[in-house]
């Protein structure tokens, strides 16, 4: 089983996000970066497929500044075989179309049975690169998957995906693009030997020029701002349960006028 995992490095979910002074992005000082949690599910699923079929490899493709190497190394330490790192000013903060275009160009030269994306990156929260990538490569997309069963001949898969109010089971020919949802698996931790081995695994560095991509953004950010800070309202302490309940229910009706 040969898989490609598109992996983005994002700020840790613990990060207290602040907008920079210019309002052009977030303040990056002191931010700790991790693998996008949904991409971690992808890495795990790709590794399990390879282990189950006892053959193949897992290639990590990441776009991002030099720090993104750490995220690729972490995935290699989990067991992935090699990495492609596209580090280019023109695409490190690009719109989802340019990202997908770049991923498509990087993936075109690779051999694969499946491509994984996360169903969304938890920094930009767009959730669209996977589907755009699939269309650009002329592949089917199966988004929001929580279960994948690959056929013995590796020519098709049966997958379960989240739909509103339930699950849909689909059959898809391979190759295709899956976008990972929570519930797909529990990602493993990198082992110590894994970390040692990862140091010797190849990471291929590329620029947009290498890939022959000329960015042509379709959407652009104009400004960043902080949401109005929510402040603590009324807190009822030491009341009898019935009294506390009555007070709050009445306030919801008469003060907040919400029920």
């Amino acid at each position: 089983m040969k898989s490609v995992v598109c992996l983005k490095q994002v700020p840790d979910t613990e990060t207290q996000i602040k907008v920079n002074a210019e309002g052009t992005g977030i303040a990056t000082d002191g931010v700790k970066y991790v693998i996008n949690p949904y991409d971690e599910f992808s890495v795990e699923e790709a590794l399990r497929m390879k282990e189950k079929k006892k053959a193949g490899d897992v290639t990590i493709v990441a776009i991002g500044p030099s720090r993104a190497t750490e995220a690729i190394r972490t995935a290699l330490a989990m067991g992935a075989d090699k990495g492609v790192h596209i580090d280019d000013e023109q695409v490190n903060n690009a719109d989802p179309y340019t990202v997908a275009q770049t991923l498509a160009a990087a993936i075109k030269g690779l051999e694969y049975d499946v491509i994984f994306c996360g169903h969304r990156a938890i920094d930009d929260d767009f959730g669209e690169s996977g589907a755009i990538l699939a269309e650009l490569l002329g592949l089917p997309q199966v988004t929001l998957v929580s279960k994948i069963e690959v056929s013995d001949d590796k020519k098709s898969a049966v997958a379960e995906r989240d739909v509103e109010g339930g699950k849909e089971t689909v059959e898809v020919s391979l190759p295709c693009v899956f976008t990972s949802q929570k519930g797909l698996n529990e990602p493993r931790y990198a082992s110590l030997p894994g970390i040692m081995k990862a140091k010797k695994k190849p990471i291929d560095k590329k620029t947009l020029a290498d890939l022959g991509v000329t960015p042509d953004p379709k959407i652009k950010p104009l400004s960043f701002s902080m949401p109005s800070e929510r402040t603590a309202g009324k807190k009822f302490e030491g009341l009898e349960p019935a009294e506390a309940a009555r007070t709050v229910v009445q306030a919801l009706r008469n003060e907040a006028k919400i029920i």
Partner: protein
């Protein structure tokens, strides 16, 4: 003419409420642009909803009548919408950021060579160009994005845009479509839908969430409260509760779960971690019930009750039952 097109999503044979939100917003944008507002729906049975859409400002309704669109499929639906868009040439296209919208909009956009300003909570126009307000980092910051290419496609978060009546003609035009089956896609084998008619978390007006403080998988108290509020209310959970196996993944609220914006969010036995707050911090009114007076959730709650949820929730249910029975 700079027209606006909205997509009316049909769920279980019914037009979703988000279609009225999109229509109301689309009407405003179309008026500012001096164009008309059009809607597209898939499936022959969707024609019956044309008059409802007209009430919210839709001038014209395209009904895609095709056997290939009976079951939702990202490839075929994207092909069908792309056909309508290439033919009618709207400047702006709006879809709901529902489970289906998330799947469909980017596929459609890619077919048209553009990207989606996804999951917007508001729109503006500047020099006739669409600007969408898109929360990032699960709402820890807001960003404004401008479309640079045409058509300008955006999805809107359900439950946020205001619904306003504004009667228009809503004239129906049927459009034939047959899918290009040479493009590979998946086949749906089975649809396992919850038939209880419960609303999805992201579209619920009231959410009652339980966390680790629930102590186990018995959420009856919260289910009862949701039932008292009625069909627009549902039950959510923190990741701690989901990880413990008490609730389904689909119920998780937060940065790696769902971002929700109900009118009322009631957090029971939830401490208020940064990841949980990110997912529900934009709720209109937040109520927290927690036995620890120092729990961070209280810093965001409009109304907080310090105490044991197993004593407080039953009393609230009693109060609510009385109040809402009136």
């Amino acid at each position: 003419m700079p027209n606006v097109l909205i997509y009316g999503e049909i769920k279980a044979g019914k037009l979703k409420k988000s279609a009225f939100e999109l229509a109301s917003e689309g009407r405003k944008l179309a008026d500012k642009l001096g164009g008309s507002l059009e809607a597209v729906m898939a499936g022959a049975q969707s024609e019956q909803y044309a008059s409802e859409l007209a009430k919210y400002g839709v001038d014209k309704v395209y009904v895609l009548d095709s056997a290939d669109l009976e079951t939702y499929n990202s490839e075929y639906y994207a092909q069908a919408l792309a056909q309508v868009i290439n033919d009618k040439k709207p400047e702006i296209v709006l879809l709901g950021h529902s489970m289906q919208g998330k799947d469909l909009a980017p596929r459609l956009a890619a077919k048209l060579g553009v990207a989606v300003i996804a999951d917007c909570i508001g729109f503006e126009l500047e020099d006739g160009k669409l600007i969408g307000n898109h929360p990032m980092y699960a709402g820890k910051c807001f960003t404004k994005w401008q479309a640079l290419a045409s058509p300008q496609i955006a999805t809107a978060r359900p439950n946020v845009l205001e619904v306003t009546e504004n009667s228009k003609a809503g004239e129906v035009e049927k459009i034939a479509f047959s899918a290009d089956k040479s493009r590979p896609t998946y086949q749906t084998k089975d649809l396992n839908l919850d038939t209880s008619g419960k609303v999805d978390l992201t579209e619920a007006e009231i959410i009652i969430s339980g966390g680790r403080g629930m102590g186990g998988d018995d959420y009856t108290l919260l289910e009862e409260m949701a039932a008292i509020f009625g069909p627009a209310a549902t039950v959510g959970a923190s990741r701690a509760a989901v990880d413990a196996g008490w609730r389904k993944h689909a119920d998780q609220v937060g940065q790696t779960g769902k971002t929700v914006t109900p009118n009322l969010y009631i957090a029971c036995g939830i401490s208020g971690s940064i990841q949980h707050l990110a997912g529900m911090g934009s709720s209109k009114v937040i109520v927290a019930i927690n036995k620890d007076g120092e729990a961070p959730i209280f810093t965001k709650a409009d109304y907080g009750i310090v105490g044991d949820l197993f004593k407080i929730v039953p009393e609230m249910n009693k109060e609510l039952k009385e109040l809402l029975a009136e």
